[in-house]
């Protein structure tokens, strides 16, 4: 057994669990009402959908906090045709 690893791993686990706990707390207001500010496709009750995305929100919560603060919505993908069309229009 590696004593350094034994000492480090619990700390690492604590950091991860704090991060996930913040995500879990954030996910409750997010899936209930904040979600419609970032993605207009999240309409209606759709309880199953809202529950289903909670694990992901626990991980990716900083992304949604950022979008909510910047008042940004789901972006449209920028593929090469869209980029070229944009350049040519400009």
């Amino acid at each position: 057994m590696n004593s350094f690893a034994i000492a480090c791993i619990p700390h690492l686990m604590r950091v991860i669990s704090i991060y996930l706990t913040i995500g879990a707390i954030f996910s409750i207001p997010f899936v209930t009402f904040l979600i419609r500010f970032v993605d207009p496709s999240a309409r209606g009750l759709a309880i199953g959908f809202r529950l289903l995305i909670i694990p992901g929100v626990c991980i990716f919560w900083p992304l949604f906090v950022w979008r909510l603060i910047r008042r940004k919505q789901t972006p449209t993908e920028r593929n090469i045709h869209r980029l070229r069309a944009q350049q040519n229009a400009a």
């Binding site: 993605d39 759709a46 199953g48 991980i59 993908e77 593929n79 070229r84 944009q86 229009a89």
Partner: protein, 377 residues
């Protein structure tokens, strides 16, 4: 506005498919434990169950990795592609059971049902079986038990398994369309491409696990065969795809920014020819006596629009049915999706399209096919 999210898009076909999938997995696990028990009656049942779930997940991973290239080689495999996400989530759950085990009577809420103990559905996970003894936390024991990261043969195969499972976990929790839209398709695809890293880690996990625990070499040979199969079909499909993807821009040099892409007669009515122009595929549709061209990439999940049909005057994506008007590239109201369009010109029966895409939603007149044009060189 776009389509509102639903939890799981089950239809009759998908339900049948999922039932088939789960029944086959249950049969495999039963058969694995039963035959292994027959061959070695003194082997511990719990150890066998851990291997049964682990190997089921690993086999399923092979199936999942084969679906993409098989679909590119033969369109008849496409229905499997539309159901791949359910397979992926099932695979993650199998891997999870392999690690932490499963006990029906201990699942929150289910444990409140008094008669739940009548269903002794439980299995031990590798974490409890190999690491839950002594006074060390099983997770700490898992990572600190073997730290021979410098050695090849003694490399901690458990860590490789953890990497594999962590990737499968990320993929499973982001499998809903919501994630595709919110992480954007390139990031989502990149994340899901990590499945190949997971595969490499899991090959290492299985092979090193077998070497370190002195198993029979047959396991290593089988993993090797699997690896050869996965590599071979990916290579064949990639070669086939490259052949069809030669940009027309190279074949016929562009004159005043138009390239010739073929003839009217080679496109069936209400269908498209797909060509690579301006660095991406373009779908050139023939319908109602006209020809229009739009970017081949559906705004929803990058489905291949050129493999769809014109239905009720709209180009309909073959994947989930999003529709676009051929002359604007925009979805009919109230929907707001749109894709870039391309100017089209006809000379005799030859089709020329502009190499400069128009911004999504731009009104782009279709090129009318005059009588006698078709079939005239």
């Amino acid at each position: 506005m776009s389509v509102a999210y639903k939890s799981i898009q089950w239809n009759r076909f998908k339900i049948t498919y999922d039932i088939l999938l789960w029944v086959s997995i249950a049969l495999y696990i039963a058969l694995f434990t039963w035959s292994a028990h027959l061959m070695g009656p003194d082997l511990d049942m719990r150890g066998l169950q851990i291997r049964a779930y682990g190997s089921a997940a690993f086999l399923l991973l092979h199936v999942i990795l084969s679906i993409g290239p098989l679909c590119r080689l033969d369109r008849r495999f496409l229905p499997l592609l539309y159901n791949r996400r359910h397979m992926g989530v099932t695979m993650f759950l199998l891997g999870l059971v392999h690690v932490i085990g499963f006990n029906l009577a201990k699942i929150p809420l289910l444990d409140k049902i008094p008669s739940i103990n009548k269903f002794p559905l439980k299995t031990t996970g590798a974490l409890t079986w190999y690491h839950d003894f002594g006074n060390l936390d099983p997770i700490v024991s898992l990572f600190a038990g073997n730290t021979h990261y410098e050695s090849f043969i003694r490399f901690p195969f458990e860590s490789l398994g953890v990497i594999g499972l962590a990737i499968l976990f990320l993929m499973a929790i982001t499998s809903h369309d919501f994630w595709l839209a919110n992480l954007t398709a390139p990031i989502w695809k990149g994340l899901h491409m990590l499945v190949y890293v997971a595969y490499a880690a899991l090959v290492g996990h299985v092979v090193l696990g077998a070497i370190q625990t002195n198993r029979h070499p047959i396991l290593t040979i089988m993993v090797g065969l699997g690896l050869v199969w996965i590599t071979a079909i990916h290579l064949i499909a990639a070669l086939r795809e490259r052949k069809g993807d030669r940009p027309v821009a190279n074949a016929t040099p562009a004159v005043d920014n138009y390239v010739e892409i073929g003839s009217i007669s080679e496109i069936p009515d209400n269908r498209a020819k797909i060509v690579a122009v301006a660095g991406e595929r373009v779908a050139v549709f023939k319908y109602d006596g006209k020809v229009s061209a739009i970017s081949n990439v559906c705004q929803h999940q990058n489905g291949p629009l050129g493999e769809g049909k014109v239905i009720d005057g709209c180009i309909t994506c073959p994947w989930h049915g999003y529709q676009y008007l051929p002359e604007t590239g925009g979805s009919p109201p109230p929907f707001a999706e749109s894709v870039p369009t391309f100017n089209v010109r006809l000379e005799g029966d030859r089709i020329f399209i502009s190499t400069i895409p128009n911004p999504p939603g731009t009104q782009t007149p279709a090129a009318p096919i005059h009588p006698g044009m078709e079939g005239r060189a």
